[in-house]
């Protein structure tokens, strides 16, 4: 019994490994597996039951085809170890030289299905994906009852081994896109995917991009909607969200959940998000352009009140705006790190105390505070945190151009942003592509 010896050898180095002796249908067997992954008492009960059944049916338990598990040749130690680390139970029969891998009752190592943590749902299904791949697929299958749903599994073999599952609807998805994606994944199966940046690289998207080529969602509802729209959903083991490809500009403004509201409400909500995005990108730039380059565009009343609020501010509008924007970005970043209980404190300190003091000390004009506060709020009307990043960054481009060229710079900045959006594509599907539906969606 070479394999058993070796396992015992290994046990000395790996405290988690157990080797348990028991009798099944009067035959002595050895069970091997990882304690942390297998719920041993329940598994033993299961095995006993199987044995009872085998006796009742009067057939040998370990006969091939009795169907309690897969046979592994005992000489292939590596395969055995791998099977164990995947959470399987190995049965070694002492009498015959057999090694069987069976699926045990495993410990629950993932959370239960909970409400989403980064996406809020007001009216719609609340369950969210978790870290367990099979749970996620199950959730999707609950949402999409269709015989057209196709599931493909891939395994990335290097480093942290990871399983990936690709879901799509047959006949809905653009075939050239699907083939390109599959080919790309299949030719890169030897890679390691510790994070989404690596996934990005694996799929061959440019590293220096401002727009993530895939959209992520925690909600099965959104993923199901994406599948129906002909997109491809990719699940990675241990990532608690679905990765949706290709990402499109509509993802910034539309979520599936919108359709649970009356149509008019849906349109206004999306319009509001669009306005939010535009306001966020344009307002700081517009302020700088109007205050320092083209004050003639303002109405006289407004011009006078801005001028009086800026009296005593020691630096030009662009510096003023950049400073305050920096503070705001710091507050944003800090509030992500902070525990939920301290969150409100930072809001108060940052928002009220700092803001008030800054105005009183005449470091910035109070109109700018209003504008930037509105801007920051507006930046989160957009759907998905990863989408808001693009808007947050493009704001600075527009700001700098506006400081140089005034309103002309603002407009040129908008054009450049539009062009950048238009230049993005995912395996030949442009970011601005509209899949049939003519919804109100622009950027």
């Amino acid at each position: 019994m070479k394999l058993l010896d070796r396992l015992q050898e290994r046990q000395k180095l790996d405290a988690d490994l157990f080797i348990h002796r028991m009798f099944l249908t009067q035959q002595p067997v050895m069970l091997a597996g990882y304690k942390s992954l297998i719920d041993l008492p329940h598994t033993l009960m299961l095995l006993q039951q199987q044995a009872q059944n085998a006796i009742a049916a009067e057939r040998p338990l370990f006969a091939l085809g009795s169907g309690i598990g897969d046979c592994i040749s005992p000489t292939e130690e590596l395969k055995v170890i791998e099977a164990m680390s995947e959470g399987n139970l190995i049965i070694l029969s002492e009498s015959s030289d057999l090694c069987i891998k069976i699926v045990p009752i495993s410990r629950t190592l993932s959370r239960a299905i909970e409400a989403p943590t980064t996406e809020n749902v007001i009216r719609g299904s609340v369950s969210a994906f978790n870290e367990d791949l099979d749970t996620n697929i199950g959730l999707i299958k609950k949402h999409v009852h269709s015989e057209k749903l196709r599931t493909q599994s891939y395994r990335f073999e290097k480093g942290q081994r990871r399983q990936a599952i690709l879901l799509y609807m047959e006949g809905q998805t653009n075939p050239s896109f699907l083939n390109a994606l599959k080919r790309r994944i299949e030719s890169n199966l030897g890679n390691n995917i510790p994070n989404l940046q690596a996934l990005n690289k694996l799929l061959g998207f440019p590293v220096w991009t401002l727009i993530s080529r895939f959209n992520t969602t925690e909600l099965p509802e959104n993923a199901a909607y994406a599948l129906e729209k002909g997109k491809v959903v990719l699940f990675l083991d241990r990532f608690p969200f679905a990765i949706i490809l290709p990402s499109m500009i509509t993802d910034m403004f539309a979520v599936a959940n919108d359709r649970n509201f009356p149509l008019f409400f849906m349109i206004t909500m999306r319009l509001l998000r669009t306005i939010g995005v535009l306001a966020n990108m344009l307002m700081p730039g517009l302020y700088v352009a109007l205050v320092s380059v083209n004050p003639d565009v303002l109405r006289i009343e407004l011009a006078l009140s801005i001028a009086s609020s800026r009296v005593g501010v020691p630096y030009p509008a662009i510096v003023e705006t950049l400073l305050l924007l920096l503070v705001l970005e710091l507050i944003l970043e800090a509030s992500i790190r902070l525990p939920k209980t301290i969150g409100p404190t930072i809001t108060m300190v940052g928002g009220i105390i700092l803001g008030q003091a800054v105005v009183n000390a005449k470091l910035v004009s109070n109109i700018l505070i209003i504008i930037l506060a509105a801007t920051t709020i507006a930046s989160f009307t957009v759907v998905g945190f990863h989408n808001s990043i693009f808007i947050r960054i493009s704001k600075y481009l527009i700001l700098i151009l506006s400081a140089l060229y005034g309103v002309l710079g603002l407009f040129a900045g908008v054009v450049v942003v539009c062009v950048y959006l238009a230049s993005v594509n995912t395996f030949g599907i442009p970011y601005l592509y509209q899949p049939k539906a003519r919804e109100n969606s622009d950027g």
Partner: protein, 361 residues
């Protein structure tokens, strides 16, 4: 994939970006009364030539103009396309110089010209380097963003209109069409020709339906009429003829008490400048396409960069507005060639090709 919508939008944008600056000046200079006849004549010419051009291209679909001409012979295509390239180059130079002058004149009085030109050149260079698909897609996006705005301002621009200035509708001079050969009238044709040549270059990258594009041209007529008639109705012929950019001045007189902005002109002007940027990038893309056919060894991005550098240097050497006008006039000859000769030759080649195809299928 049918991208007619993108083509239509781009067609509209490029023309709108062109017509509101110099076109009304020329038309108001051409005739004292009956401007509509001059506009309609130019427009009819435009539609007819475009129809001929598209018809000719239709025989060869989905090949583009360069392939068609190369199919006939290398020398033939060089002779025919060289003036076209030259025309494109001159158009870019004139446009960049003229628009930066306008920008300086209207609202960036202290910014040196070259800085404005850098902006007006680098953005189109960036766009054209990203390729024609990007260009057309961003056209749609830009249109969605700016067009509502523009339409609002067009509506508002009638605020000070005195409709009686439309009269008299006609006189002998306008009826005789004697103005057709006059210099300003020939100059005014630039608004009609600059645009539609791109239809011959974009296939097979972007395909479109001929009829839809023809319909888009019908949408253009109101803009031509607005560009001339708003200043006429606001100021009257004799005053309007004194302005360098009558339409801009006419919009300047609009007084809106409910808007937080005082000068809506600026927004109008800048939307138009943005459209013009798209137009320039389109021509730039066409020019690089032509140049790369001649010298296939150069990388496309290098071509674009060298081209914009060369254009920038030439633009720096244009000292004043008068030179711009002179260049515009010299360009008229090339323009007449491009707008008349190229469509007819395309049609001729198309019919020949069609016959051949019919004879030996």
């Amino acid at each position: 994939m049918d991208k007619s919508l993108q083509v239509m939008v781009m067609y509209l944008l490029t023309h709108i970006g062109l017509i509101f600056f110099m076109y009304p000046t020329d038309i108001i200079e051409v005739v004292d009364v009956g401007h509509w006849s001059a506009i309609l004549l130019g427009f009819a010419l435009h539609v007819a030539l475009m129809g001929i051009f598209l018809k000719g291209l239709g025989y060869f679909a989905p090949r583009n103009l360069i392939d068609i001409f190369l199919g006939v012979g290398k020398v033939f295509s060089i002779i025919l396309l060289l003036p076209v390239t030259l025309y494109f180059l001159m158009t870019i130079i004139i446009d960049i110089r003229a628009y930066s002058e306008i920008v300086t004149l209207v609202f960036l009085a202290k910014t040196p010209l070259w800085v404005t030109m850098v902006l007006l050149l680098s953005v189109p260079a960036f766009i054209s380097a990203l390729g024609v698909e990007t260009l057309f897609r961003s056209g749609v996006l830009v249109a969605i963003l700016f067009f509502p705005f523009l339409l609002l301002i067009f509506c508002l621009s009638f605020q000070n209109a005195d409709w009686r200035y439309i009269f008299p509708l006609m006189d002998k001079q306008a009826a005789s069409l004697s103005y057709v050969v006059s210099r300003p009238y020939l100059l005014s044709l630039f608004a009609f020709t600059g645009g539609f040549m791109f239809l011959g270059f974009i296939p097979p990258y972007i395909t479109y339906k001929r009829r839809k594009v023809m319909w888009a041209s019908a949408l253009l007529l109101p803009f031509f009429l607005i560009s001339v008639y708003v200043p006429i109705l606001t100021f009257g012929q004799s005053t309007a003829s004194r302005f360098q950019f009558p339409f801009i001045t006419a919009v300047d007189t609009v007084n809106i008490s409910w808007l937080m902005f005082d000068r809506v002109t600026l927004f109008l002007l800048l939307s138009l400048v943005c459209f013009a940027m798209l137009f320039i990038s389109l021509i730039m893309w066409k020019t690089t396409l032509l140049i790369r056919r001649g010298f296939p060894s150069i990388r496309p991005v290098t071509t674009t960069m060298l081209l914009s550098l060369a254009i920038f240097i030439v633009c720096l050497y244009i000292p004043d507005w008068k030179t711009v006008e002179r260049l515009l006039w010299w360009n008229t000859y090339l323009r007449l060639y491009v707008m008349i000769v190229i469509p007819f030759i395309t049609l001729f080649l198309g019919i020949r090709h069609h016959r051949k195809g019919a004879a030996c299928p």
